[in-house]
Structure formats: C-alpha cells, structure tokens
Symmetry: C2
Subunit: 574 residues, 2 copies
C-alpha cells in the first residue's frame, strides 16, 4: 500500500546513500509512518558482500562504493570452515593464529601424524612449539594447537601461510610426551582422542564437533575482479614450500614475492643440512652439498613451473644455523640416556658440539642471512647453482622462468656485491644466457639508511617488514607478545600490534626514506614488501601511498590484499 511504498522509497534512498543494504526502524502511529532510525543492516560478511555486488549490478551504487563498503579482513575467513552451532564449553582459549575450524585426533609428534593420516583420520598436531622439522608435516595436518607463541610468532606465520587452522599460546595446557597425554584446563586427553579447534576465535573443544565447509561465492569473485581493475599495487604470494605456489596461482597472485628456501630444508633435506653442520670431514661435506643441490633443483623447478611466466623471488638461506639442529637440553638428556644404557655416545656428542658451536645469545642478530654467505659461502653457492639449473631445465622444457634471487639481511652494499659477483660468476660459467634478477631484502635499519648505495647494486628491493620491525623497535617477535606487547596494547601504549599493522611513525618513516633514496639513484628499481604486513589492510594503504610496487603475503590473504589495494587506490583518487 501507500505506507509500504514510502518505506521502499526511504530504503532505496538510504541504500544509495549508505552504499549497502539498509535497516530501518519504524512505527506506524495514527496511520502515519514514522522512521525512527536508518543504518546499514548487520549482515553476515558473505551476505553483505553479495548484497553489495547486487546493488552495483542494479545500478544503485557504484563499484567504488561497493569496494569501499567491504572489510577486506572478511575475505580471509570467507572460504575457511567454521563450527556448526553447538553448545560445548571451550576447554581453553589461545590466539586464533590461522583462521578456520578443524577437528581431528590429537597427535603429539610427526610420527603420530603419519600414523593418523595412514588410518585416514584428520590429525591435529598438539605441540609445545613448531620447529623447522615439523613444517614438512604441517601440510598434512588438519589443524595445529601450540603451547607457545602468539599471533605474530613464527608458528602463526607458517600455519597461516599454508591455510591450516591454528590456535597458539593456549593457556592452562601442558603436554606430557612420555605418557602421551595432554592436560587442558581440568581435562586430561590422550593422544588419539578427538579435539576441535577454531583458529578464528582461538577456542579449543574436546571431541569431534561438526564443521561447516564453505566455498567462495561467485559474488566475491566478481568483487575481486572489480578490485583488480582499480588497484595499482600488485599482489604476490609468499610460499614456504614449492607446492604452495599452486595456492598463489589459484588465488590470482601475480608472482611469488618470497620463496623461503630454508623451509625446504625440512624432512629429508634436514638430515643433509645436519650432516653438513656437524661434520668437518671434507668428503662428507661435499657429498651433503651435492645432495642438497639435487633436492633444491627439484624444489625450484616445481616452483618455476607453477608460476611459469610470473616472477618468483627466491630468498637465499636466511635463518641462523642452529635452527636446523636439535635443542641442546634434549641432546644432553639423550647423551645421558645413552651413557646409562652403555651405548656409544660419540655421534650425539658430535652433534652436541655443533649445537654448542652455533649457539648464540641473540640468534636474530647473529650469524644468519648474507653473513652465512660471507663466512661459509658453500651453501649459498649450492642454492644459486640449483636455481640456475632449474631455470635451464625450464627453458629446455619451453617454459618461461622468471627467477629473482634475493639476498637477506644486507646492511652494507659491500655484502650484496660479494653475493652478486658470485651469482654473475655462476651465470657466466653456465655458458648460456640465463636472465636472473638480483635484489636484496631491506630488513635492517642500516639498509634503509644507506638504501641509495644498495640500490645501485639491486634490481629490486623487498622490505622484510617483520625483521625491520624487530630491529627498528628492538622487539623480538617471538618474545615480545607474551612478555609485554599485550600489556602495551591493553594500556594504550601502542595503537596496534606492530607485527600485524605497520608502525608507520617508526618503520614506515624508514621505508619512505629508503624508497626516496633508492629511486633517486635507480628509478627503475622494483619495490616490494614481503613481511606479514603485506597482507594487512591498514598497512597496504600506507604501502600504496609511499609508492611500493607490490605486496606479497601468504596465499590465504591474497584476496583481502587485492581488495585493500583497490580501496587504497580509490581513496587516493586514482
């Protein structure tokens, strides 16, 4: 009737104005329609995106309005599973480190994961912390529950990167490995018991709760296609292992901005690396280097095949070497056990010596990155040889490999020059024109301060904003969150966790300075960001503003980064 029609007219006008579906509170009194309040409807994220797309297609709002009306962070969870409605009480809470829900049987180590997988049961890895040797099995687990770390920890980064739901830093939890028990709150669970976790909320439940799987609705694909037309910032993906490149491609990432080669040093390759680090015998070392080279050729070939025609930035070895060795306290324990059982302790003692040799007070600020290349150049050379061989094989197969080699932790141009010369020497030795672009990470304040000198030797810069944040703020990502970051944020001393949202006043100022200096001497230089901030909405707006060419983030965050980049461009009036 008449009142209904005027209500529709009001809603139409409101939707046009708000750029989204509207909600109106009204009363009819004395036969007259009184509108009390009008505001955007509280829709579930997916529904709100669908309605925004509908409104554009009906000509009610513009593409820009629709793009600006969606919270990019919603896109990260939109395709992940979630819990069906239930009435269970959580056993404990932790940080929701990687979104999505998962149910499975408790597995306390990699062997248990393998066993569960063989029995076709989903596995939930329950562990004190994620160590490099665990990474290889993370691809086959349904979820991860870890005792230590926070949203910005290494473990969170790894699980989020491969899209495995994870809850990290769970309170009231203790793991008893010898007895294969986990006590959480008041409950004691055994290995093999079912457990359910929600990596979006951080909740952990006993039992096998029902999950709701979701697929990406068509409207989101439409919205992202519009985003791609508006944005000027490219969006690439970070990968921890060659298989993940397929995820980047399917999320429409325009390149791999960071292939972490050390995460490839797991599983079988880990024992080769350990061999390399614990023996001084030259023949054994050469053999280990040879095996490593062969393994890496395969890795790089897979990577370049998945990303054919698109840039792939391979970061040469970065972490401190002790990360590839076992923990000293556990080795000392094993030596004692061997001794009491009358077994030969010599091999373990050799490992203990190596662990002790590579032990550092502050490994983050120690012997890692390009420093490895200077002091023990063999591993870097092997990586370069493997990458060049992979390029050659791809060319022979008619492919279009776009290899970029990236040198981490450079603080002075002299360091980069040493590695660049080595790479050029090997390219020359290859006797065939192999095009390889060589660049550096900017992840130390000094690198940003002398960016002009470094830019003269670099085809590209990639800001490693995780490490740049650690050094600029003097905060260790792995220690800060539990120790004081939460207190800082609760008390308003920090606006946000600087490992999630870029610290614009500090780290951002350095980045801006570095870009200005670099482009002044090398206008062609390509500039990217490959830290976690590359997938953070607020940070992306800043990267757009200071002239970054591409951001690179973990595959599950590529969609939100595409939208955030479009929003930045629209707001910028592009």
């Amino acid at each position: 009737t008449e009142k209904f029609e005027s209500l529709c007219a009001i809603l139409d006008a409101l939707e046009r104005d708000l750029g989204s579906v509207a909600r109106v509170d009204f009363v009819v009194e004395d036969d007259r329609l009184w509108c009390i309040d009008g505001r955007p409807a509280d829709l579930e994220p997916t529904a709100s995106i669908a309605s925004a797309v509908d409104l554009v297609e009906e000509g009610v709002i513009s593409q820009q309005q629709a793009l600006l009306g969606v919270d990019p962070d919603h896109l990260e969870t939109v395709a992940t599973a979630r819990l069906s409605p239930h009435s269970e009480t959580a056993l404990t809470y932790g940080s929701g480190a990687a979104p999505g829900a998962a149910s499975g049987v408790i597995c306390l180590d990699v062997e248990a994961v393998d066993e569960a997988t063989a029995r076709n049961l989903p596995a939930i890895l329950v562990t004190r912390e994620i160590r490099p040797e665990d990474v290889v099995s993370l691809g086959s687990v349904a979820g991860v529950l870890a005792d230590r770390g926070g949203k910005a920890s290494h473990a969170a980064l790894v699980t989020r990167g491969i899209g495995t739901p994870a809850v990290i830093g769970a309170s009231n939890m203790s793991i008893n490995v010898p007895d294969r028990l986990v006590s959480i709150g008041d409950s004691v669970l055994s290995e093999g018991d079912w457990i359910t976790l929600d990596g979006t909320t951080g909740e952990v439940f006993a039992g096998n709760l029902r999950l709701k799987k979701r697929t990406v609705p068509e409207e989101i694909k439409t919205l992202l296609a519009w985003a791609d037309q508006w944005r000027t910032l490219e969006v690439w993906g970070n990968v921890d292992n060659p298989a993940a490149a397929a995820l980047v491609r399917s999320a429409k990432g325009e390149g791999v901005g960071l292939a972490r080669t050390e995460h490839m040093f797991s599983g079988e390759q880990l024992s080769i690396v350990r061999q390399l680090l614990t023996t001084t015998d030259q023949r054994a070392r050469s053999a280990a280097l040879g095996e490593l080279e062969d393994a890496q050729i395969g890795d790089f070939e897979t990577l370049l095949t998945s990303m054919d025609g698109l840039p792939v930035v391979v970061r040469l070895l970065d972490p401190p070497l002790h990360e590839f060795l076992p923990d000293r306290i556990s080795i000392l324990r094993d030596i004692r056990l061997h001794a009491t059982q009358g077994l030969d302790t010599a091999p373990l003692e050799r490992i203990e010596r190596a662990v002790s040799h590579y032990e550092e007070s502050n490994p983050m600020l120690g012997m890692r990155g390009v420093r490895l290349a200077i002091v023990m150049p063999e591993i870097y050379r092997v990586q370069v040889l493997a990458a060049l061989e992979a390029v050659r094989r791809r060319l022979d197969a008619g492919g279009n490999p776009q290899l970029h080699l990236m040198v981490p932790l450079v603080g002075a141009v002299e360091e980069l020059t040493v590695v660049r010369n080595m790479i050029e020497e090997e390219v020359h030795q290859a006797g065939r024109l192999l095009e390889v672009s060589v660049g550096t990470m900017i992840e130390l304040p000094r690198a940003a301060l002398v960016a002009d000198a470094i830019a003269l030797q670099s085809d590209f810069f990639s800001f490693g904003t995780n490490d740049l944040t650690q050094t600029t703020l003097g905060m260790s990502r792995d220690d800060a969150e539990e120790a004081f970051l939460r207190t800082y944020i609760d008390r308003g001393l920090l606006a946000a966790n600087p490992f999630q949202t870029l610290d614009i006043d500090g780290v951002g100022q350095l980045m801006k300075m570095a870009i200005t200096k670099a482009r002044a001497v090398n206008p062609e230089i390509q500039i990217g960001v490959c830290g976690e901030h590359g997938g953070d909405t607020d940070s992306i707006a800043f990267f757009h503003a200071i002239g970054v060419d591409y951001v690179s983030c973990s595959p599950p965050r590529i969609a939100s980064a595409r939208l955030a980049a479009a929003q930045a461009a629209i707001r910028d009036g592009a």
Copy 2:
C-alpha cells in the same frame, strides 16, 4: 761548529713545521752537509708527549700543534703497568680487552679470589665468561682471563671500565672446574699457579713475570690542561659501581654520564633480586623490595657524594631479568644431583621454573629496560625511591646532589611518560623540593626516528651507541665478533669494528637526524653519548661535529677523550 749550527737550524725549522721532535738523516761529504731525509722522530709515546710540551714551552710550536700531534689512544695505556723485557713465549693469545699487564695466581671463581686476597696474593680470575655475580669481585682482582667474548663484549666493557687488565677470547684454552685445572695450549696449570697476562697485546704467559708500573708524567697533565681549554665537548665518565665514581673524579670527568644500577645488583644484592624473581609470595616480595631499596640508597649516596656538584646520570634497570638468574643447564644438573642424593629438589625446581619463565629467544630484543617498568613497575619504583632518598640525605648533609634519572630502551614517548609520571608522583610525595632531571637513552632506531616526540618529555638524551649499533646493524655484540665481524673486517667489508668506532653512515646518520629533530622542538635539551664510542677518538670527532654536548666513557679513557675532543675543536677552527 758551522755544520752543527746549520744542522740545528734545519732541525729547528723542521720541528716548527712538523710540530714534534724531528729526526734528520744526513751525510757530510766534501766537507758539506747533505740532508737526506727529515721526518718526525719515532719516540716512545710518553717521550713524544713530553717533547711536544717542551716545544710549546720553548715557543717552537703552538698548543694546537702539540695537541694535534699526540695520538689520543696513547693516553689510555700511558699509566698502566707493562711487562719488563723478558724472553718467555706466550702460552696463548686473545683479544687485549683492557690494557695493562698483571701477574697473579689463577682463581677459577669468586671464592678462590677471596681466598687469594686474604693471603695477600694478587688474583687472576680465569673464567669462561664474566657473569653479573662476578662483577663485584672484579674490583679486587689483578687481571681477568676469559674464554669467551671479544674486544666489544660485555666482559671487555666491564674490565676496561674499572681499569683491570683483561685478555678475552683466548684460544686453545679449556677450564676444568671440578678438577680446578686450566689447560692452555700444551700446558696444564692448576688453580693457585702463577700466570701473567698483558691486556694491551693479548698475550698470556705461565709464571710470575716482572711488571713495570708507571705514573702519569707531569707533561701529560699539562697537555690535558691545554686540551680542556680548547675543547667544547664535555667529557664525563661511566661507572659500574659507586666506588668507580672516585676514578671519574680523579680523571677530571665533569659528571657521571652512566651509572649502571644493575651492576650494583651483584654480591649480596643479587640474592635479593633472585628472591624477588623466584617467589610469588607477596610478603617475601615486599621484604626483598625493601632490602633492595635500602641497599640502593647507600649506593646512590656514595655516588652523589663522590660527584658532589656535578651531574650524575643514574640509568634505571636495563638488562633482561634472566641475567640475574643462574644458567638453566647448570640448574638442571643440580636438580639431578640433589635427586640422586635424596635431597629436596623443590627449591631448585622453583628457581628452574623462574629461569624457564624468563628465558627468551633474543633477550637483547626482549623484556628489558622501560618494558620492565611497564610490566612489573615495582623495581623501577624502588630505584626511584632509593635515588630520591639519597638526594634528600645529601641535601641534609649540606651537599649539592645533581641527580639525573635515565630511562633505557624507550622506543615511544608513551613509555617515557609512564615513568616520568611515576617519578613526578614520588617527588611530589616526598613533600620537599627535590630537583631531578628525567631523560632517556636513545638506543633504538625508532627512538631516533621519533626523537621530536620524545624530546618534548625529556630533559636530556643520552645516545646508547652500543645498543643503537646492535639494532641498526642487526648485530649482537656478543655473537658477532667471533662469528663474522673479524672476517668482515679482514675482507674489507667493514672499515672498522662498529662497536669500537661509530658506523657514521648508518648509526651516525640516525644520530644526526635525532639531534636535529629534538633540538627543533626542545632547544634546551642536553645531548650526550654514553656508549663505548664515547671514548673512541674517531667517533668523538663526529660527535663534536653533530653538536653533542658531552661524551661519557669508562674512567681509563677519559684522558684520551679530553684530548680527542680538543683535537676535534681545533680542526673545526673553534
């Protein structure tokens, strides 16, 4: 005769020209005098200083020429003992970490040092590394021989600061504590055997070699008096314990630029701090805090008495708390020992839990400095209360205490504000006008980048160039030297050790930027440098150039810093 006179004339002209005693090579041929070469004479440092002072007093050269002609570094060793000529072969070499020679009996721990001292024998502490609990006895040892560390290590800094000769990072040395033996090279020595070390050259000898003690010659005092008239940069001293303030005063330091309060947390105070960290019982904590306050009042009173009328900058607690706790591996060993002997392990287990709780992956970037003040404010408050009480007592005694409280590791002005408010609250509570100046260390890149905001809340800045170098370059001082710094310097990738001579391009750029930003908003702000670079000649010239007000260094380096500051001013044309 005639030729002698012309030779004298030539030498006179040369001396005037060179500004130092000259050496001339000549021949007399066909009864004519031929001068072949003329250059400054190679005099032993002390003799060359004496001759320069003579030349000024004879009116041959100017004060400026004399001041510029002396190498400031020579002044650091001029008053230290050295070895008499001998024919011994060194057992081993290490870094000459703190200059001077010393002989004494080998002591493997603090108890052995006490015993040797009681028997009137000079003690040489031979240790794997210097831990906080050792610091209190360093004042009573003749020398230190440490296995671990380099010239820039914490151990080197401590020994150099109190003028105790030290050799650090000795190769081919192993210490067997249970059997009280030290093997060095091919020799095995027992605790109590005599040993001699030269902290200038890094040599270590078996036996009791003869030493030559030296006193500062009058000419050096004259030269330094001239230096004081020329220089514009003030020179202050750093102290690790209240007694060292007397060394600053006698070296004519114009203030204490850094009183490290945590080094006062040793000896008896260490057990109070451990009590505080390992108990959750509120009554025990309060008692420990009370004891700590009493002990610190005495420390601060001694300090303010020694430096009466001159500024004393007290740095509030800085290091990560685990530095005050024993090493985890040794505690685990003790727990096992107790268990096998049927003793109660509960107290040790409590300590182990605390050690494990405070353990960090990268303590340098962890829970320390102002972060302690935010998360567990009690210790900072106790320190402030103790310092204010010391000021009150000094005022009652008719003294002129000039207390400056310095907050370490500030990265954001919000942190400083929290501590400043607490200090102002306590000053207000004191109910009496106590003048206290509050400032901050600039030792994180972020602090330099936002120096304008921080300067608005600071009466002074003091650049902690040691830590600023660690974070700007991403290099841990304790790890870098052995692992890669030597290789870098040998290969020319770095011009000098950045922990000795300031990295002007990187760290220096940040400092300059910070000073400009700070003075723009707070022109009255006082700016100092209290890292090791404050005593380094090359770095001092840079600090003069960028407008630093004072440098603060360890007492044995004050003389060279005074000369270096004069040279900078003269070269600057002041």
